[in-house]
Amino acid sequence: MIGEEFADLLTAAQSGSEAAFSRLWRNANPALLRYLRVIAPGAEEDIAAETWVHVVRGLASFRGGEQAWRAWLFTTARRRAIDLARHRSRRPEAALDDLTAAQLPSSADSAETAIENLSTAAAIGLLAGLPPMQAEVILLRVVAGLDTESVARLLRKSPGAVRVAAHRGLRRLAQITADTGVTL
């Protein structure tokens, strides 16, 4: 999160300052990619790029604080991810029957990945093992830094449902780490 400096950076970026925009981008893009790595694995780079194109186009008319900025960014990314998923479901590129066993994507066990790589990627792998709703809520709360109300608006759920999903996700995560003995 940028903090108090955000308003000045946004104003400067809206006036055309590349440095200000670069600061905004460097602050938000890693979180965006981490979020997309869980909800749209394999397409995070493309979706992030599309999201920034949309953001650049609407930057001049954006009004709001840092929470609103991040909510806008992640809402845009989420919509792009949903569009991509729909597009892929309409036009599957190859049937799984046509692929050999060697070509099938190997999904390593989340716990094993976490043990091998004590890193961000491992943590993302652990999150990816959670139910989608729980993983998304935790990512939006922790990675995007959004509060419960913002997450609820973004996901079109009630704040209560978001809280429940967050608690369940964290409990499950605690259970996984306890079962596997993962320490990051």
Binding site: A13, G16, E18, F21, S22, W25, R26, N29, P30, A31, L33, R34, E45, A48, A49, W52, V53, V56, R57, L59, A60, S61, A114, L118, S119, T120, A122, A123, I124, L126, L127, I138, L139, R141, V142, V143, A166, H167, L170, R171, L173, A174, Q175, T177, A178, D179, V182, T183, L184
Partner: protein, 309 residues
């Protein structure tokens, strides 16, 4: 016995073993986890580490697309950014333009329709009425006022009934058995060839009498009733398209109808352009969903337009 009337020996109370490795997570712990604070329960330390890894410093790979984003930003910053009002104006332009075009088309249709109805009702000023007559086959300006009284039928035929009289004349022309070949080469009859009694020798044939009567009697309406008799008497005379002249004379209107009014070019022109009047009728019928009277029927047109005849 238990409360459910089951012996205690049959339903032993088997204690469920508690999972000792599952951490007990309270709401306060979860809030602390999400907030990223350090004071979490020891059992939740691994979870706190996972969440901390999620917000770790960005890697180089995660910052690799900065140049591309900046290039996009540079292009967008160089281009004029459309403001909200400009976008609204751009969107509203087409809709407002459409409304204007629609209103203009409606106004033009109303004016043209009203003007045409007025023209067919023969209530326009003479020059405009004449123009309408030329364009869409409206009645001749004030024809009923300029012609002598009692010649209503003549004026009627002049203003639009010519085409009808010409079609009526055709059966008579075809009818004469001996005149068939001679009648057809003269679609525009002349008074001398058809109208006067001397023309009898040329076209007429006593044997063609019967059909000649038939043709006149059926085709001329009120005028033809009186002429039918005359045709019967003349027989050889009532043939071809010159019958209008001969009929007119028979009705005592010979002076007025010296000019033959069969289907000459001039008469057809006065009756209005057939395509234009047809087009007008089509347009008006499609607009009002009512049949539009044919050109020349001023009273019917006025009635159609809802005006007092």
């Amino acid at each position: 016995m238990t409360g459910n009337d089951v012996p205690d020996v049959d339903m032993p109370n088997i204690p469920q073993p508690q999972r000792q490795d599952e951490p007990v997570v309270t709401d306060a712990d979860l809030v602390a986890l999400l907030a990223g604070t350090a004071d979490v329960a020891p059992g939740l330390r691994p979870v706190a580490d996972v969440l901390a890894a999620l917000v770790a410093e960005p890697t180089d790979m995660e910052l690799a697309g900065e140049e591309r984003a900046l290039a996009r930003f540079r292009r967008q910053a160089g281009a004029p950014v459309p403001t909200r009002r400009a976008r609204r104006n751009a969107n509203g332009l087409s809709s407002r333009f459409g409304v204007k075009v629609g209103a203009s088309v409606t106004a033009v249709a109303v004016v043209l329709g009203g003007g045409a109805a007025a023209a067919f009702a023969d209530v326009l000023p003479a020059p405009i009425q004449r123009l309408a007559h030329e364009a869409i086959g409206a009645p001749i300006p004030h024809a009923r006022h300029t012609l002598p009284s009692g010649s209503r039928s003549a004026a009627h035929s002049r203003s639009g009934m010519h085409s009808r009289s010409s079609t009526h004349g055709k059966p008579a022309a075809r009818g004469g058995p001996g005149t068939g070949r001679q009648g057809r080469p003269h679609p525009t009859p002349s008074p001398t060839s058809h109208g006067n009694p001397q023309g009898q020798g040329k076209h007429g044939n006593p044997q063609g009498k019967g059909k000649g009567q038939e043709g006149q009697g059926s085709g001329q309406g009120s005028q033809g009733n009186g002429q039918g008799n005359q045709g019967t008497g003349q027989g050889h005379r009532g043939k071809g398209q010159g019958q209008a002249a001969s009929q007119g004379r028979g009705n005592g209107q010979g002076n007025q109808s010296k000019r033959p009014r069969g289907n000459s070019q001039a008469d057809r022109r006065k009756a209005g352009h057939p395509h234009l009047s047809g087009l007008f009728r089509l347009v008006m019928e499609s607009l009002t969903s009512r049949p539009v009277p044919r050109p020349g029927c001023g009273v019917a047109a006025a009635r159609w337009a809802g005006w007092p005849a």
